[in-house]
Symmetry: C2
Subunit: 403 residues, 2 copies
């Protein structure tokens, strides 16, 4: 056998290193000679910034187990988009001479939509020049918006973190008797999957958010204020979850159309949460605050979903299996067999079906009024957040792997 090379790209999730570990374990199982890592995505191959992962494994026997629960991206990332094949083939010949130099049989790219675009272009170029190198994508994104696959590695952990912090924010909001509104802004420019996960915070010991707004349905400020007024009549502390990408009926981002922001002339400075905070202050005059969960939702490896981490490892392993079987231009996908008991199947899809497409929340999984999600959504989400990995702590802090 020859060698394999793996790289990571796009934004972080807490499970993308688990997929890296999965690719490594898969490559070991399939007896590839050496395993290389490209630093900062595909840029590392172009710039010859290559890590000898096989050497690393020899010198550090605990490496894989720590890697599986480490946040962000061990190999670093990039936002590098390959040019179209016809326009400029220089970078392609550079890449393929590098593959030759390192005797690469298969390249694995762990990433989101843009990374899948790269996998597709490389496999197409390989076909053109009759190269036998296989190119396989390993999905990841906290946004859960990749097509064809039931869900994406990294999403379950982010959903678990979001649901937990939503609970904790609700506990925090309830301590005072004075009327108050708390707005939680969750990542998701175009898809509301992660914001929908705040619904999991409704259980026997937590009322959950009162209102949930996703980008998939139009947001109406007057209706929002009316809903708040109605809820505030019956309870003191209202908690609202919104996607950063909520839009009005004309498709304009709420974050860019706020009254308050208009006043400054610097609309881009306010997120959706801040914008609604100003709106509530102005219209209702109650105590209001907004909380932007920020990068923690993609970086909080101290609270991840064991289901997500295990699947992320498997998705990486499977990618190697498919490559060893001769597949190229594909991505590992998961298909759900059942919710209860939760069961999924791993297979692959042609990259062409996936790259540059996004999967929104289906309209029928949002309630009619567009301010909560349905039971189908809850049943879909629940299995993805189940289980907690055993984390190692040292000196009071979780142990992570940094290059």
């Amino acid at each position: 056998m020859g060698n394999v090379i793996v790289a990571q790209s796009g934004g972080p999730t807490v499970a993308i290193n688990a997929s890296l570990a999965g690719v490594i374990e898969g490559a070991l199982a399939h007896h590839y000679d050496r395993i290389y890592g490209s630093i900062n995505g595909i840029q590392g191959i172009i710039e010859d910034n290559i890590l000898d992962i096989s050497g690393l494994l020899d010198s550090n026997p605990n490496f894989l187990s720590v890697l599986k629960t480490s946040p962000a991206m061990y190999l670093g990332s990039c936002r590098y988009k390959l040019p179209n094949l016809d326009s400029n083939n220089q970078v392609y010949s550079t890449l393929f001479s590098q593959f030759e130099k390192y005797n690469i049989d298969a390249f694995f790219y762990i990433g989101g939509n843009d990374s899948m675009d790269t996998v597709e272009k490389l496999s197409a170029y390989a076909k053109e020049i009759n190269s036998p190198i296989r190119f396989v994508g390993v999905p990841k994104t906290i946004d859960n918006d990749l097509c064809v696959t039931d869900h994406t590695p990294g999403f379950g952990s982010a959903a678990k973190y979001i649901a937990t912090t939503t609970m904790e924010v609700i506990y925090d909001a309830r301590i005072y008797k004075a009327k108050s509104v708390t707005i939680i802004e969750v990542m998701g420019r175009d898809a509301g999957w992660l914001t929908a996960a705040t619904a999991l915070a409704r259980n026997e010991y937590c009322p959950g958010p009162d209102l949930i707004y996703l980008p998939e349905t139009p947001f109406d400020k007057d209706e929002f204020i009316d809903s708040l007024k109605a809820i505030l009549e019956n309870k003191n502390n209202v908690v609202v979850a919104v996607s950063e990408g909520i839009r009005d009926a004309k498709g304009q981002y709420i974050s860019a159309t706020s009254t308050a922001a208009d006043g400054f002339g610097h609309a881009q400075l306010s997120g959706a949460g801040k914008t609604l905070e100003y709106l509530v202050k102005e219209r209702l005059g109650v105590k209001v605050r907004s909380i932007e969960v920020n990068v923690l939702q993609r970086a909080a490896a101290h609270l991840s979903s064991l289901t997500d981490l295990e699947e992320s490892v498997n998705v990486g392993k499977k990618a190697v299996e498919f490559a060893a079987d001769g597949q190229t231009g594909i991505m590992t996908i998961m298909t759900r067999i059942s919710n209860s008991p939760y069961e999924i199947e791993y297979s692959f899809a042609r990259i062409g079906e996936i790259a540059n497409e996004a999967k929104p929340v289906p309209r029928q999984w949002i309630n009619e009024k567009g301010d909560w999600v349905t039971e189908d959504m809850i049943s879909y989400l629940r299995p993805l957040i189940m289980g907690e990995p055993k984390l190692n702590f040292d000196n009071g802090l979780p142990v992570y792997a940094m290059r």
Copy 2:
């Protein structure tokens, strides 16, 4: 024996319910007849909104163990300040007739500075009317700024959360090669204890923040920009931790004096982190973002310090012991015997020494330049974040107790 009543006040910490559990366990151990809880601090006594905790314990045997790891305040909170004794004694006679009605021997108030002020006033009034009721304070605050005690319950867990999330933010910041600055804003208007805890994120697998600014030393914008420039020459991703309360040499809050905010004429809208984000963008033109850790630092019960929780329970238990011994007008305190092995002693101090005073970070625990902390600070902080409690998860989420 008669009965006891306990209440919680001020802002939440993740350990304040552990102290409530401690008071309850102490009251059981000292064979008080019944244990009552006042809802929303002292307001519950005034409004006769009283919870029968003894009854709760009978019906729910797991209550105390879940309570110990539950966030926020099980009994609710208030921001109620008692009037001075001479000015208006109506509320005092209301309170004491309530104490009589419930046959109260001792009142325990878990809270910060304001709550200790209440304990002091009630014990003074009791003395005036020759009431035998004991009033004992149980400290809590994530700010760690109470005098006399070595540290405050709740601080260790917040410090652990801050150190962990700082690590995770640093991991997140390092994935791209492009130069970037990340600013983490930590709670602490007047004292920098919690921001200092970001220093714990420097270890063998994490470089830690590059700069740390506390309210205790004057912040100079030009020096800050010069420091960033120097660091950016040698590394790509700079991470800065700032207290929300950093001030310039004239004592003006940075959050209120920003160039950017001046431009809007709405200075109050920008926190310290946002203000510095604008400053860096303007002066250095590199990619910059600010992260406000927000309420999670006081509410994230999913990541607490076992040392802190155990001490919080003990501080509550000791308060009951002291009251049973006849003490009143006091607060339980902790004295540190040694850092390594970590050892503390519980005792009490007169409330007069504590209430309405704040404890800043000593200047000698901050480096000369005012942009990092010393080894003494690290040695002080480290033991407080040690250990992780066993959390129960159900359906993928931590189990908490809500009233």
